[in-house]
């Protein structure tokens, strides 16, 4: 059994003291950290929470969340993907919204969970309800919280890399740019091929390392040619891939930042 109450009970059993949310008027936003943020860049998660809170959301973080199941799903391991999807649905369905600092993970939940439960009417309904309230972070800030200008400070020339799932599954294109452009110190430059895949592709990046690295290399060239000091993006997978390739190319200067860090003022 999963779900908020189970999580809270579990945490209490472990001795943690946590707040319980009983608010009925404020929108309760379930924050899906994503496994990569959890493991590699926790600061991105905290920056995202800061943005959600300053936008007026009541943020709830299911404490036992792990992964949306996409690695299993895209590797053809359907049964594990279904089990993980079930876990996520249970953890977040009581929230008013599910928000993730990732186009890829939110896209998995919003656009692929339905297919996993085809034929299971109960789950299909539950998934459809969750999918309808699932958002990528910047989309949620702009279209639900109606944030006009982020509170954080950042100064410098940046370029934005559109992640594939963010762009083509979640429709994230203008949202991050609008928020970034509203920051007084930010100079937003568009690089060539900003919508082209960086080559990450999950396990693809390890199975076909040479192809993946070539795609990343192309992206690095476009970033460098743009004249930006930092490439800003909304997905950890792209972030690790582009940063890893930039450094291997010997570029120690160009920064690779998650959009949440920039908007929250955690990147200056």
């Amino acid at each position: 059994m999963y779900g908020r109450d189970a999580d809270l009970a579990a945490l209490r059993a472990e001795g943690a003291r946590i707040t319980c949310y009983h608010s009925t008027t404020i929108m309760r936003v379930g924050f899906f950290v994503t496994c990569l943020v959890d493991l590699v860049r926790p600061a991105v998660g905290f920056a995202a929470i800061k943005l959600l809170k300053s936008g007026g959301a009541d943020v709830y973080v299911p404490p036992l969340q792990t992964c949306c199941g996409q690695p299993a799903y895209n590797s053809g391991d359907r049964s594990d993907a279904i089990a993980l999807a079930r876990k996520v649905v249970g953890e977040f369905e009581d929230c008013d919204y599910l928000v993730a600092p990732s186009g890829s993970c939110s896209g998995m939940i919003k656009t692929h969970y339905g297919e996993l439960f085809r034929g299971d009417a109960t789950m299909e309904t539950r998934v459809a309800k969750l999918a309808a309230k699932t958002h990528e972070l910047t989309d949620f800030l702009v279209n639900v919280l109606e944030v006009k200008a982020p509170t954080g400070q950042y100064k410098g020339k940046i370029t934005y890399h559109d992640s594939c799932a963010g762009l083509r599954e979640m429709g994230v294109k203008g949202q991050p740019r609008a928020l970034l452009a509203a920051m007084p110190g930010v100079e937003l430059i568009e690089m060539a091929e900003c919508e082209t895949c960086c080559g990450f592709g999950g396990t693809f990046s390890i199975k076909y390392g040479d192809i993946s690295a070539r795609l990343a290399d192309n992206k690095c060239v476009h970033v460098q040619n743009s004249g930006a000091e930092a490439v800003v993006l909304g997905d950890l997978g792209c972030m690790l891939n582009i940063e890893g390739r930039l450094r291997r190319r010997g570029d120690t200067k160009t920064r690779v930042l998650h959009v949440a860090e920039v908007l929250a003022g955690e990147a200056s």
């Binding site: 943690a16 590797s75 799932a165």
Partner: protein, 472 residues
């Protein structure tokens, strides 16, 4: 055609390091992608047109037997002969039987990818007949010792004009020149003699029209027009899935096909051919045959990837695929490269012979959004990945890693503990700049990239810590 799809990894690696090929691929990418974008602007409503095209193709597939029977009836009534090839071998057998019946010695061909599936040219030559490819790209490949095509509409676009110049000079014994117009004129003068002396013309078929029994052939060089009208026999070969119910359907599809393919509003030539030359008619072949090919198509129709049969062979998926753009069409090892090939090849030659193809995609879905008939290409590739996983066709270590990871991810407390330990260990591997330069179990990543090291503590532990601080 010889299957080399099992060598995808090695071929892709070699092609990534082939400087000439990389230069040629970049040039091609800079042409088709913007051309398509500009051409689609001419349509009032691209999305509605795509949806209409999807429906037309899907309707044809949903009632394929009905339309095929209607086609056979109408084509036969117009005087043509309809033949059915169940296997690639049947294509070659039928062509040679027709050639024998009409005492054919020389055959000219306009482009037919289906005939590549059965290596028809080799079968024709083995039977002692002459065959000449008339599509310029296919001709270039033929005189280069039957090099395989690397793209479905631009079979030789992996070649530079200098490479073609050398090939022409050596084959035609003419002075070396690399002006494109001069090269085209040279090909034209060579091919013209063959058009006039051939006894049989073979074409592919972009569409078979059920209501009229016609074949529609789309070209830019006019070679199909000559191939179908000058020799006394015309044979049109294509897959059974190429059927469309009506001519009006063709009109809708033609709004998207050339635009998606080469960025043209309309191709230079569109031939709609119905029956052989009738009494009192001046143009056309005296005998007309259709060879409708199954060769795995009905199996696809009954599978989870059936939507792939909607394909109208525009090539937009490969033109826009970042993997194809960088590894080139030859890496895929069979007739159809790129995203659509990564579905059709495993289905036609056996999944076990093409294990890499459904895997070699980042699932960026650039192909899916440009496909004129809305084939969900990544979703279909994922279906094949599921089959590979279910049939234990993946390496054991990949499967084991996945199962172990999923086992933990489904046990959140153990996962929390394991991830706490992992991120600390990985942190220890980091150089002062925060990068890991070698990871023993992920060499694929670290061979050409650094791995940014984890911060050292997980979000989950930090969040819990902060939550309890807030409470105390």
């Amino acid at each position: 055609m010889q299957i080399a799809s099992m060598h995808f990894k090695a071929r892709a690696h070699a092609n990534l390091n082939d400087e000439q090929l990389q230069t040629n691929l970049k040039k091609f990418q800079g042409k088709f992608v913007p051309a398509r974008r500009n051409a689609l602007v001419e349509l009032d409503d691209v999305e509605a047109t795509r949806e209409a095209a999807r429906q037309i193709r899907q309707r044809a597939l949903d009632e394929l037997d009905t339309w095929l029977e209607l086609f056979e009836e109408n084509a036969t009534a117009s005087g043509a002969t309809v033949l059915w090839a169940e296997t690639p071998g049947d294509i070659n057998r039928l062509v040679l039987e027709i050639a024998a019946r009409h005492r054919v010695k020389k055959i000219i061909k306009s482009k037919s990818m289906v005939s590549e599936e059965s290596a028809l040219d080799h079968a024709i030559e083995a039977a002692g007949l002459t065959v000449v490819e008339t599509d310029l790209g296919e001709y270039i490949l033929q005189i280069n010792n039957y090099e395989p095509p690397s793209h479905i509409i631009g079979p030789a676009l992996h070649k530079s004009k200098e490479e073609v110049a050398t090939l022409f000079s050596n084959t035609h014994k003419t002075p070396w020149k690399d002006e494109i117009q001069a090269l085209c004129l040279e090909a034209r003068s060579v091919l013209r003699q063959h058009y006039l002396s051939a006894d049989m013309g073979i074409t592919g078929g972009n569409f078979f029209v059920a209501e009229t029994g016609s074949v529609v052939v789309v070209t830019n060089e006019g070679n199909a027009t000559l191939t179908t009208t000058l020799p006394k026999v015309h044979v049109a070969i294509s897959g059974i899935e190429k059927i469309v119910p009506t001519l009006e359907d063709v009109a809708t599809l033609m709004r998207l096909l050339p635009r998606s393919a080469t960025g043209q509003s309309i191709s230079n030539y569109v031939d709609v051919l119905t029956g052989p030359k009738g009494a009192g008619e001046f143009h056309g072949a005296e005998h007309m045959y259709f060879i409708l090919v199954d060769a795995g198509r009905t199996a696809v129709l009954g599978s989870e990837v059936r939507e792939a049969l909607r394909c109208i062979r525009c090539g937009a998926c490969m033109n826009h695929c970042p993997v194809y753009q960088n590894v080139g069409g030859h890496s895929y090892g069979w007739v159809y490269p790129g995203p659509i090939g990564s579905i059709l090849t495993p289905m036609y030659v056996g999944l076990e012979n093409a294990l890499d193809l459904p895997q070699a995609s980042t699932f960026c879905n650039q192909c899916g959004v440009v496909c004129p008939v809305k084939i969900p290409l990544p979703d279909l590739q994922r279906k094949l990945r599921e089959e590979e996983f279910a049939r234990h066709l993946r390496p054991w270590h990949e499967r084991a890693a996945l199962r172990v990871w999923a086992w933990f991810a489904l046990r959140p407390r153990l996962y929390g503990l394991a991830s706490k330990i992992s991120v600390r260990l990985l942190r220890l591997l980091a150089r002062p700049n925060g990068m890991i330069s070698r990871l023993p179990f992920a060499a694929g990543w670290t061979d050409e990239r650094d791995m940014p090291a984890p911060a050292g503590r997980t979000f989950r532990e930090l969040y819990r810590e902060r939550a309890s601080v807030r409470q105390s």
